[in-house]
């Protein structure tokens, strides 16, 4: 076959270029460790999602020091969880699946980008160095309201990050003269011990209590108030810790028959910190129960 000299040179140049591209991409994979989404994660069919231990509760979970896993379920036309909250300076692995049709999972401004295919689970790991707020969007057409499918991703400063959950157990009504017992169960979803402050307000009375909760466990904080001090009528209460808040109303009445509620977290191993305004040693940091 007769090939012109220039053509031969061009051909050689082309080969160099092609091999150069392949080497570059390979370097990205092997040298820089940019993994492709593959088939490592086991699939889950849409009907099994509700009973799947990874996806039944879409969430962020700490799995090691500065290491987190996020289980995301995409469905028409939302993402769960929303917002996704992770700390800065962490390595986060996303597991993404779909409950119905094919969706996309993209975080503009980052290189987070994957398909969410029903039956399959996409796994991708990214590092977050800086705090920031991002949008999460579906970039694959998924139906008539596809363009509304949006979530958010919040990277909080490390020291502000918590995975605290709050459950409060308080009576709805008490008879005049009885004690009001309010118990807040604070659980820490992180692996590390978490320190925080619980704020409790009942009527006009406020107190706060520092607590230390071990990793993956919970603590109870109890507050006891004499209903006489509040007087008859409805009283609002609020309990807050980290970014969690619970509130409700207690009616102080004249009748004696009150419904005592059962402690919420029966199963959790708890160390109860009783904070009794009558006991000055315990209400050490309290802000004024009279």
């Amino acid at each position: 076959m007769r090939i012109h000299t220039y053509e031969k040179l061009w051909l050689a140049g082309s080969f160099v270029l092609i091999v150069g591209f392949i080497v570059t991409v390979t370097y990205g994979s092997v040298g820089l460790g940019i993994d492709m989404i593959g088939e490592e994660a086991d699939g889950v069919s849409p009907d099994e999602i509700s009973s799947d231990e990874r996806f039944s509760e879409p969430r962020v979970e700490q799995v090691g020091e500065n290491e987190y896993e996020v289980y995301v379920v995409a469905m028409t036309f939302i993402f769960q969880p929303d917002p996704i909250e992770v700390p800065a300076n962490s390595e986060v692995t996303f597991y993404v699946t779909s409950r119905d049709v094919i969706h996309g999972f993209e975080v503009p401004g980052t290189n987070i980008n994957s398909m969410a295919i029903p039956g399959q689970v996409a796994e991708l790991t990214v590092e977050f160095d800086e705090p920031g707020t991002y949008g999460v969007i579906c970039n694959e057409y998924c139906g008539p309201q596809h363009h509304t499918m949006e979530g958010s991703l919040v990277v909080t400063p490390e020291w502000e990050f918590s995975q605290t959950e709050l459950e409060v157990d308080a009576p709805e009504s008490v008879a005049q003269g009885d004690e009001i017992d309010l118990t807040a169960t604070v659980s820490n979803g992180l692996l590390e011990t978490h320190e925080s402050t619980v704020n409790v307000t009942i009527g006009s009375q406020t107190t706060e209590q520092s607590i230390t909760v071990d990793g993956e466990s919970s603590e109870n904080v109890s507050v006891t108030v004499d209903s006489d001090e509040l007087g008859p009528g409805e009283h609002d209460w609020t309990v807050s810790v980290d970014d969690q808040e619970e509130s409700g109303t207690i009616t102080v009445g004249n009748e004696t028959d009150t419904t005592e509620s059962v402690p919420a977290s029966v199963g959790t191993e708890t160390v109860s910190v009783t904070m009794n305004p009558a006991d000055p040693t315990r209400a050490s940091r309290g802000v004024g129960y009279p």
Partner: protein, 582 residues
């Protein structure tokens, strides 16, 4: 003395004209839809409810890349086979048969898509007449069965067209023993081998899965399997779209430049490389898919990079041929010859600009192909940027430019409005520069494609420029493209009506500088190349397909269909999609 195709083969000219007519009608609708999209998604002007955007987008994709391009392709190929072999097809019914099937298929598909605009689409075959599934029709989004059936009829037509051309060639071969296949015919035949092999994927997906599923014969589909079968076809088809432009660049452009093709052997090598490599790369469209091992993606990546070779070779041959032509016309100097090219000829200028845009778009394709870089651009507006430089210009503009040269030969009428035509190709070029520039840039900071309202509650990190400026460029570019389309169609219409005239073109294609005799005969052994292509296909796809089936089952697991009937009310969406939101 001008030599006119229509005088020599009036029957064939009629068929080619009919195919072009279908093609141009599709172009008119598709371009109108494109204009609507350009204004809607940028929020510059919206007159349709956003759910209808997806009906428009489905139409845009299907009418342009299926109907416009492929009808033009079959017309062009029919001309090329007949003209280069000097041989009429043996059976007129066969030729009109494939044209009829393709037309029927297109009508069925169009009805199913356009039904989606109705408030309450009628029930057809047990489902509402609607197919808002975009041109990729990823299950479990479900279209009306007619959509899938229409596609099957259309594909059947294209297969029959290939059979027609192979028959013509076999007859010719019998009468010309030992002769080399003329280059245009060689290109047609190799392209069709590629089409036969690559379209198997989507045909299996349609026949074995989507149609039975849409009639509820099988309980479900494996979405990753039908998707993989689509992309088995999906990269081959992009070459199927581009190869008619290549045919024009190799055969017509050198003539228009005033010279001859530089190398016939290399042109053959290029087309053989497409036969071999264009299908075993489809997985590069699935880099972001879970359920496909990284190793398969890596193989697809390397194959894709090697697929650059035929395009790089084409760049060389085409530019060398143009230079040769320019020097024949008295051009001189290292680059000075460029000025001697026939820039006033719309056919030449259109193809040359299309080639330039293609070269640029090729580099953006390398970014797409670059596996890990793909994270940055996957499903962003960057991709439509790439689509419009490649099929939307390299192909579309070459086809329009080619029409300026070919349609007079098919009608026997002189081209009307040469200067308008010249203005038209330049307008298209400017339009594409504005629109794709903005699309590429928007994609880089994450603006998604296929989205009616890509305006969210967060702000994009635009970097240089502003979102407003980018949107304005998309709208401006889209408008220029639309104007160019109208001008093109106007020139075509006037030319067809321009009965009492003599064309100025000469359809003779001079032989290449380095002819087929400079290449080994084995290049013409089509059976051999087809066999190697099949082996490569099996190597590239057997394992990934097996693993996809093993992973998700042949019919998927608990995958419910989601018929897409786009209604405007938000509350409807939930019920129609039947989504359990927990």
């Amino acid at each position: 003395m001008t030599r006119l195709f229509v005088d020599e083969y009036p029957g064939q000219a009629r068929l080619v004209r009919a195919a072009f007519l279908n093609s141009f009608v599709a172009l008119a609708i598709g371009a109108t839809f494109g204009l609507i999209q350009a204004f809607h998604r940028t929020d510059i002007y919206r007159f349709l409810p956003s759910p209808d955007y997806y009906t428009v987008l489905t139409g845009h994709g299907v009418f342009l890349v299926i109907s416009f391009v492929i009808f033009f392709l079959v017309g062009l190929f029919h001309w090329a086979i007949t003209d280069s072999l000097g041989q009429r097809p043996s059976r007129a019914w066969l030729s009109w048969g494939w044209y009829g099937l393709m037309s029927l298929g297109t009508l069925i598909i169009a009805a199913s898509i356009l039904g989606g605009f109705m408030e309450e689409p009628p029930e057809v075959l047990g489902a509402p007449l609607s197919a808002d599934v975009l041109f990729t029709f990823y299950a479990p989004l479900q279209a009306n069965p007619l959509f899938y059936l229409g596609l099957i009829v259309f594909f059947a037509g294209t297969w029959l067209a290939g059979a027609d051309w192979f028959r013509t060639w076999l007859t010719w071969k019998g009468e010309h023993p030992g002769k080399r296949i003329p280059l245009p015919a060689f290109m047609v035949l190799t392209t069709m081998i590629m089409w036969y092999l690559g379209s198997i994927g989507v045909i299996v997906s349609l026949v074995a899965f989507l149609v039975p599923w849409s009639f509820e014969v099988i309980p479900g589909v494996n979405p990753l399997l039908t998707r993989t079968l689509f992309w088995f076809f999906g990269h081959m088809v992009v070459y199927f779209w581009v190869l008619p432009a290549y045919l024009l660049w190799y055969n017509v452009l050198p003539t228009l430049s005033g010279g001859r093709l530089f190398s016939d052997p290399l042109a053959r090598v290029v087309f053989i490389l497409f036969v071999l490599l264009s299908t075993p790369v489809g997985i590069h469209h699935q880099y972001m898919d879970p359920g496909i091992a990284e190793g398969f993606k890596f193989v697809a990546m390397t194959n894709t990079m090697f697929l650059l070779l035929p395009s790089l070779l084409t760049a060389f041959t085409v530019v060398a041929s143009m230079e040769h032509g320019a020097r024949q016309r008295g051009g001189a100097g290292t680059f000075g010859w460029i000025r001697a090219l026939p820039w006033k000829d719309p056919a030449f200028t259109g193809m040359a600009l299309a080639g330039a845009v293609f070269a640029f778009g090729g580099f953006t394709g390398i970014v797409n192909a670059g596996m890990n870089i793909n994270y940055l651009v996957h499903n962003t507006l960057w991709i439509p940027g790439h689509i419009h430089t490649q099929v939307g210009t390299a192909t579309a503009l070459s086809l329009m430019a080619g029409s300026y040269w070919l349609v007079p030969q098919l009608t026997g009428n002189r081209l009307v409005g040469r200067r308008i035509a010249l203005f038209q190709v330049v307008t298209w070029f400017l339009g594409i520069v504005f629109m794709t520039n903005a699309m590429y840039r928007s994609g880089l900071f994450g603006v998604p494609r296929r989205t009616a309202e890509p305006q969210y509650s967060f702000e994009y990190d635009v970097g240089i420029g502003s979102m407003g400026e980018l949107n304005a460029q998309i709208a401006l570019g889209g408008t220029l493209l639309f104007v160019a389309t109208v001008l093109f169609l106007g020139v075509m219409l006037l030319t067809v009506l321009n009965r009492d005239s003599e064309p100025l073109v000469d359809g003779t294609i001079p032989p290449a500088l380095s002819g087929p005799e400079d290449s080994p005969r084995i290049l013409d052994n089509l059976k051999l190349w087809a066999a190697i292509a099949i082996v490569l296909l099996v190597l590239a796809y057997a394992l990934p397909l097996a693993s996809v089936i093993q992973g998700g089952g042949l019919h998927g697991q608990d995958i419910r269909p989601y018929p897409v009937v786009l209604v405007d009310a938000v509350q409807h969406a939930g019920t129609i999609l039947g989504v359990p939101i927990h």
